[in-house]
Point group: C2
Chain length 385, copies 2
Amino acid sequence: MNNFSFRNPTRIHFGKGQIAKIREEIPADARVLITYGGGSIKKNGVLDQVHAALENITFFEFGGIEPNPHFETLMKAVELVKQEKITYLLAVGGGSVVDGTKFIAAAAEYPNDPVEMLPTKGAHIRSALPLGCVLTLPATGSEMNGNAVITRWETKDKTGIFSELIRPAFSVLDPETTYSLPPRQIGNGVVDAIVHIVEQYMTYPVNGKVQDYYAESLLKVLMEEGPKALQDPTNYDVRANIMWAATQALNGTLSLGVPGDWSIHAIGHQITALYGLDHAQTLAIVLPAVWQHKKEQKKAKLLQYASHVLGMTEGDDEQRATQAIEKTRAFFELMGVPTRFSAYGLDESVIPAVVAKLKQHGRLKLGEHGDITPDAVTELLRLAL
Amino acid sequence: MNNFSFRNPTRIHFGKGQIAKIREEIPADARVLITYGGGSIKKNGVLDQVHAALENITFFEFGGIEPNPHFETLMKAVELVKQEKITYLLAVGGGSVVDGTKFIAAAAEYPNDPVEMLPTKGAHIRSALPLGCVLTLPATGSEMNGNAVITRWETKDKTGIFSELIRPAFSVLDPETTYSLPPRQIGNGVVDAIVHIVEQYMTYPVNGKVQDYYAESLLKVLMEEGPKALQDPTNYDVRANIMWAATQALNGTLSLGVPGDWSIHAIGHQITALYGLDHAQTLAIVLPAVWQHKKEQKKAKLLQYASHVLGMTEGDDEQRATQAIEKTRAFFELMGVPTRFSAYGLDESVIPAVVAKLKQHGRLKLGEHGDITPDAVTELLRLAL
């Protein structure tokens, strides 16, 4: 096991009716900006619950934060923050709203043009407004970490930023708020959380047993509960298990002292930025290709996954490793997320475009060994056509 | 799954050489009191590493905190804190030193006689000195929670206290510091951590899958690695896995949204207070008795444990439940911790004494159903003779 340092001070309020806890978290004299996305929170009663919790607290609203939140949109919110002297941000929505709100929190305090924050991946963030979160879509884990992914629409660039300063002070996770999600978002969320886990797990063994077994635990939960969420959308325990698993998947616990891959995300981000595919769709396309391409390097962990998560006992090592990849692909398809470019009307012309974007961002050495070069990406993406 | 709120802001520095990180955590102008136990940290080089990390910081030392730390001893440290105007406490040792130091942190700021804190279980703690920790014995989980257990020697009372204010700001976990532990302390530590886990797991199912699978993960790690630590005391990865599992076992994650038992600890504490047995020894005696006595109520989880942790597939439900209890007992014995009163030279006369202590403390309704009455304790302890 490798050395690590770790701290995660976000407070979680989990369960039915917990939106009311916002009142305990936000100072009574705060000037709050509620941020949200396409407006589903107005239909499913979530915004009403938030308003009730903020009774007698001054608040404003900013809607329309899109999936893969755009720098250009978020800068409009920054203007509103400055104009109304906002002191607290409250993100109400899924990972895009939370990520976008993290960017707003830092950009509102950034002394220069906030576009500078993107190439530095947040390294130059020195202060940020406090923020809280009401999560309505379990997927990204953004509710309990300091990460955000921002898309600059003008240049079709999608960049991850990180700072301890943009970690939510608190997050409310009420599984009932997820009942009204369309199946596509349920499928996407489960796939996204699974790929977060395996980016921290499907590498090479360093005998980090707690981390490995925790990762396997979360994979089992998501693979057991995901299909049930599609079949029985108002089953509370199913939604609760998925929601808590997705948060745990990227709250920092799994990556402690073990290597990470993250090539699947790096490649996927370019596909979304270029072609607008859902984030999880890109991951579902890229994962089987990366695993197939790196099967020998990842074999020890593929076999551990085949045994501990998928319960496979038949066949030799080569067969089980291959089957583990194919069973993962089949699970994504079962969740309604196709795993090949062709299913999205895309062909081999995507490959040079994606590779060019990776080169532009200097992402020339991806994966846990740093050996997924642009040439390797070209080769592996052919497995995803 | 039940509702929960959760926050754990303790920072962990894990790994070889991480004692040096103390320097980043403690303010340069602090007046530090290093607290420790019997002095093993002077022999194994840990104290030297701490001194090096505190170079140019003013520090004092207070040794002699005993296992099951005594109120009477800790009050001497409180005097020293006041006399030397200490501003930061640094516990260097195992759970007893950490627990004792938590008490010192609160007692030093307590306006009345600190003996008052014990019957209130810490409810009246309003402030405490900041504290950090260098853990040298993985077992109690005290390094990442706000719990402490204090023994009042004069009255033979052992009381748990809790406050967010006595949670360590940081803890250093260097597995190499555990190499010099005697086998008895290794065995005790693994048993203690296992019992922490099952107090939060071996109850009744509420479909908290992440919590259940995490608990099973930690049980597997401890059962796989525990015997290796006895056989191969300087295997770094073995020590690292045990150390991180023991911390995870009681950092709050496992108990979220699920019922807890804690009868094993409640009964065990009285045995230690009365007869001076090691904490883990009392748990190893009481656990099989409680599980046997409550086999019907706990059967669903006993069978889940038999399957997921012990890999049992043979026999009917009754046989597997019984075997799961006996295999757990056998594991404790394998770790060198006997599981019956007779092995410690105690006989049935302990039973009325333990029951009287429980009554004195008002612990009349133990367990996840609150139905382990004094009569039930009398009955179940006969299974432990």
